[in-house]
């Protein structure tokens, strides 16, 4: 499923980064959102955008638009 569809407070593993813009894609990867990384969706801003994720020991905020291009699989 897309990361944007993931429910709050669920863990997932990243499958694929499908962002069309190359620079953005590289940036997302460099921040640690690589395929195989375990993430947890932790927060959503009051207006719904951006969202917060924990991964690799820190918390990252990313816009909802980008998360619609990231494919993940829910894990327990």
């Amino acid at each position: 499923m897309r990361l944007s569809e993931l429910k709050l407070n669920t863990y997932a593993i990243i499958l694929f980064i499908n962002i069309p813009n190359l620079k953005s894609r590289i940036r997302i990867l460099e921040m640690g959102l690589t395929p195989g990384t375990i993430i947890k969706k932790t927060k959503k801003a009051p207006f719904g955008d951006p969202i917060g994720l924990t991964l690799r020991g820190y918390e990252l905020c990313i816009s909802k638009k980008e998360t619609s291009y990231i494919l993940v699989e829910v894990i327990k």
Partner: protein
């Protein structure tokens, strides 16, 4: 010999920089841009240390990152001191491995080691050293521990014989390389780092409240209101009252003492109306600026500012501002200078500069009397509506300016929105105190001199006639003469040539409150603000004003360049002379152009 400090944002780089350099620091700006450049000399060593803007990788994305990247690739230096947040090492090592491939000497400083125990993280340093093949220091910058060891390591590692390996640069921007690099980092971490217990959830708890759908915005405005109230109403008022008393007393003292020994009148006036008033106007900003520095520093260090970004970014990014820009705008309704100074909290340079230039368009409290005076006299019962129209206009101007600056001047395209949300932490009082003290001294050093000199100049222009005779009526002063010469500038705004209006507007450069004082003095009224409306009557000095010119004149004073304190604050925040001049010119032209247009439209209407 020269060393550079490289690391992610939020890893304690500035704290470490301060510890290593002590008071031997210099803050300038990187050439051609508005980003501040911090350089210093490491204590007891002859090594220059440069604090480079935070980066996440050697693929520069933002303006600040391009500066770091450009420096690392093209400048001379002998050691890279890579700071890594030890509690977030899985991401930090990504940059470390890239830095290791550059070819220059690197040492790693694991910061915040005091937090490792409470987070249940155990790092096997020896194994990490084996894996990375470089020296690693364990440090807690906030506690000041591990520094002696670090200094020794710097001394033994600094090497000026190594060159950059420029061939490897393209590898940093290949996607599969990045994924492989992270796999490598993951393997290193697996063998060197152990998580003993689960991470504490205090942060999550605070965020649940602070970022709650319903509570987030009310909490924000409560904090803002609190800061505003404490700084301007409480501290500002107490200080202003005592300051006023000191000023009146010292003026009286000087007048009496010097008159007794027959000192020239103009010297007495120079000391009282020039020097003391000048110093007084500088000092009057001290309390509110101190509180602004204190509270914004506190909120930034504790991590709340990042949450403000998180809440408001979506809304404000549409016009090219950051969510954090909201705070300077709110503070700007009290005092533009406070608002401009608080733009320090906006880390994105382009957002920050846009905020600095647009904050003065929000009417500050000093401009309010101007609005009240004109609207009450000319619009009688509808004055509230007209007054509000100025605020609505200011918001439109801010939005349009932000869009112009971003789309046309900076040509910013849509940027990726991604940032790190730091953990909450309680700032150390000692550090806060030092930080605020430094900022205050910095500001008053530069701005204070400018404001003081400007007050003296205006005093001179007002007190002397063109024949350098002292004690003349205002209409014979040099300033009035100047006013006559430039009254053609204001003619398209108010419909007539008036030195009185010109002089009053010019005095607004010192402080916007002075516009009204000037109008009162010119009309021969006392300073009690009671009969001020009379200046517009048929026999008053400003009888040429009508509804259209009144509205346009107010618009000019509101939307042109701000008072000299705010302009000094702008200069300090923008740092780059060319951009600063362009910004002030932009404000002057906008204020003038808009009021000319308004006058032309309004004088043809029912007005």
């Amino acid at each position: 010999m020269r060393a550079v400090l490289v690391g992610n944002q939020n890893c304690g780089k500035s704290t470490l920089f301060n510890i290593l350099t002590g008071s031997n620091q210099k803050i300038g700006n990187w050439p051609g841009v508005t980003v501040s450049k911090k350089t210093g000399i490491i204590k007891d060593m002859e090594i220059e240390l440069i604090d480079l803007p935070g980066i996440y990788s050697l693929y520069p994305y933002s303006l600040e990152e391009k500066i770091t990247y450009g420096f690392l690739m093209n400048e001379e230096y002998d050691l890279i001191i890579n700071i890594v947040d030890s509690t977030c090492i899985e991401r930090g090592l990504f940059l470390t491995t890239e830095l290791l491939e550059l070819g220059k000497k690197v040492i790693v400083v694991l910061n915040m080691v005091d937090k490792l125990k409470e987070k249940g993280i155990e790092i096997k340093i020896d194994r990490l050293k084996e894996n990375l093949k470089i020296d690693i220091c364990l440090v807690s910058a906030s506690r000041g521990s591990g520094i002696i060891d670090l200094l020794k390591t710097i001394k033994t590692n600094i090497n000026n014989n190594l060159r950059i390996n420029k061939d490897i640069l393209n590898r940093f921007s290949k996607e599969n390389e990045i994924v492989l690099r992270y796999k490598k980092v993951d393997n290193i971490c697996k063998s060197c780092i152990r998580h003993i217990k689960k991470r504490k959830e205090v942060n999550e708890f605070i965020d649940k409240i602070v970022l709650n759908k319903i509570l987030a915005i009310p909490i924000f405005f409560t904090i803002m209101f609190g800061m505003y109230y404490i700084s301007i109403e409480i501290f500002g008022q107490i200080f202003a009252d005592s300051l006023e008393k000191i000023i009146i007393d010292s003026k009286a003292f000087i007048e009496v003492t010097l008159k007794q020994i027959n000192v020239y009148d103009w010297i007495i006036s120079l000391l009282c109306d020039g020097v003391i008033t000048g110093v007084g106007s500088v000092l009057s900003f001290l309390p509110q600026l101190t509180v602004v520095f204190l509270v914004t520093s506190f909120l930034e260090i504790c991590g709340y500012m990042a949450r403000v970004s998180f809440i408001f970014d979506k809304l404000l990014k549409k016009i090219g501002l950051s969510g954090k820009s909201l705070i300077p705008f709110i503070l700007g309704t009290g005092c533009s200078a406070s608002g401009i100074i608080s733009t320090k909290i906006v880390e994105n340079e382009e957002d920050r500069i846009t905020s600095v230039i647009t904050v003065p368009f929000i009417p500050c409290s000093a401009k309010l009397p101007i609005i009240t005076l004109f609207t009450k006299y000319f619009f009688k019962n509808n004055y509230a509506l007209i007054a509000i129209s100025f605020y609505v206009l200011s918001i439109i101007i801010v939005i349009c300016s932000a869009i112009i600056i971003n789309k046309i001047i900076l040509k910013r395209k849509e940027e990726l929105y991604v940032f790190e949300l730091p953990e909450y932490k309680f700032p150390k009082i000692k550090f806060l105190y030092k930080d605020v003290k430094q900022k205050i001294l910095e500001f008053f050093n530069k701005a204070g001199t400018t404001i003081f000199i400007a007050s003296l100049v205006i005093w001179f222009l007002l007190s002397f006639s063109t024949n350098f005779e002292y004690g003349v009526d205002i209409q014979n002063s040099i300033l009035a003469c100047l006013g006559r010469k430039i009254s053609w500038i204001f003619e398209p705004i108010i419909g007539v040539k008036s030195w009185q209006a010109s002089v009053s507007a010019i005095q607004g450069i010192i402080a916007k409150e002075q516009v009204i004082s000037s109008m009162e003095i010119i009309s021969g009224l006392s300073n009690n603000h009671i009969d001020t409306y009379k200046i517009f009557d048929e026999i008053g000095s400003f009888n040429f004003f009508n509804k259209a010119s009144a509205y346009s004149f107010v618009a000019f004073n509101l939307f042109t360049a701000p008072c000299i304190v705010a302009i000094s604050a702008m200069a300090k925040e923008i740092k780059n002379l060319k951009i600063f001049i362009l910004s002030v010119v932009y404000q002057l032209v906008l204020g003038w152009g808009l009021s000319v247009i308004l006058y032309n439209i309004l004088s043809r209407q029912i007005f």
